[in-house]
Assembly symmetry: C2
Homo-oligomer: 258 residues x 2
Amino acid sequence: MDGLQRPGALYKQVAAAIRDAITTGEFEPGTLLPSETQLIERYHVSRPTVRNAIAALRTEGLIEVIHGKGSFVRGRPSASATVDRTVTRDADGAYSTGLQGWELAEAPSIYRTHTTAETAPLLGLDEDEALFGIDRLYVDPATGTRLAYRMLLPFATAEGTKLAEHPDAESANVYAILEAAGHNLTWVEYAAARMPLPDERTALQLPDATPVLHTTRVTHGTDDRPLLLEELRTSGERARTAYRITTDSPRHLTPVRD
Amino acid sequence: MDGLQRPGALYKQVAAAIRDAITTGEFEPGTLLPSETQLIERYHVSRPTVRNAIAALRTEGLIEVIHGKGSFVRGRPSASATVDRTVTRDADGAYSTGLQGWELAEAPSIYRTHTTAETAPLLGLDEDEALFGIDRLYVDPATGTRLAYRMLLPFATAEGTKLAEHPDAESANVYAILEAAGHNLTWVEYAAARMPLPDERTALQLPDATPVLHTTRVTHGTDDRPLLLEELRTSGERARTAYRITTDSPRHLTPVRD
DNA sequence: TATCATTTGTTCGTATGTATC
DNA sequence: CGATACATACGAACAAATGAT
């Protein structure tokens, strides 16, 4: 059965055959794939070859394997949680963030850290300058999706405001405090995707082969001075960020390291 | 040398040891890792174990392996290309997109397609409704980063405008045409991350273990009617999208399938 | 609770193919 | 052409997780 043909390595042919069987509908999403033993018989190859094929489909994110149970067809997951990244304010001018509906899973952790090669240029600071770090872990109760939030607050920004004593204020409050300090706020947010570090995979409870959606938001004050950096990291497959876009006059983004 | 300790599988210990050696600085980014044979001697394990460890570091995106040459330390790549997703218009009201500086790698391909379970709700249409599809492939000449762009143009939107005959207009022109047709345009853009499909990996020339940054933009006209869908797919590690954010009054996003 | 069959995970060994220099 | 390095493939054995008996 299931003649494997010419192109390339044997395990790639097996992987392609299984991939086809999935897209054809023979193996439906959520169902169990044949066991390794069965695949060996079906394609007349050795166990290492079958395992190699399965490993390939795994890194593609097409299947999920559970020890002792088997391989499940994953079927392309569509984002289930949406994080609205627009900054809104109500009639009273009060800010609110797009994390409503997400629950804080742990108490915020506050610490002192310093700028890195990545963050320094965004904040307009030199490397290794000291700043506050505030980490929060959120969970979407509806889907269980986790989201890591980090705020990097330079001492220069906090100085002379309530933030110096309470750096763990929520985004909306931080914006309000900065505005009360006389700033005219604007924001730029960047979105990128990457594979998680091992500890990120744990913290965000990411399955195999799921990338991280990593956003970086810089708050600018009067004279475009960078005041604040906020980072958001979550499963790129289970969550997405949303941006409302309105027209703007041409303007340069603050240059960042290239 | 290099005592491997208790926790977990042997190959995971080896992977951890190599990972440590990389972060410690013993193996610097860009340099060649010891060969499989050398790693076998160094850690006193078999070849399959070493290969397993290398495979793990590979899917983490930490190293890159080139057939016949060896394993290179990748060192966390930072996005080199930024795509400004803000919609800007100059003093004359002319729109421009954030893809300036990117070069069209092939002639645009235009075809007829239909809505899917993903795209239908965003466009406010039923599934399997017919629409134009326009695909473009861009390259950033500075970095070689590739970017796949797709526009989905419902017949109902094109009808009665120049778009019916020239669906392959560029974004900025499409916006201008829709505005000339009497629409007051607003946009919402979603950002998500996922692993590439095999053909996407080829088209975008993605290395191993690199996710795709996938953005979806919906153009709304008068009465918030969805008019147009644009998708952007590129290497999440080599490119990032940028959004300028201004405050807005609270408002609901158009609901999308959950 | 304990045991067993099934299924995937880990580790060794060995041989050969193929890309790079 | 040869030396080196990674890729592919087979075989075999035991470990560990799962679910049912």
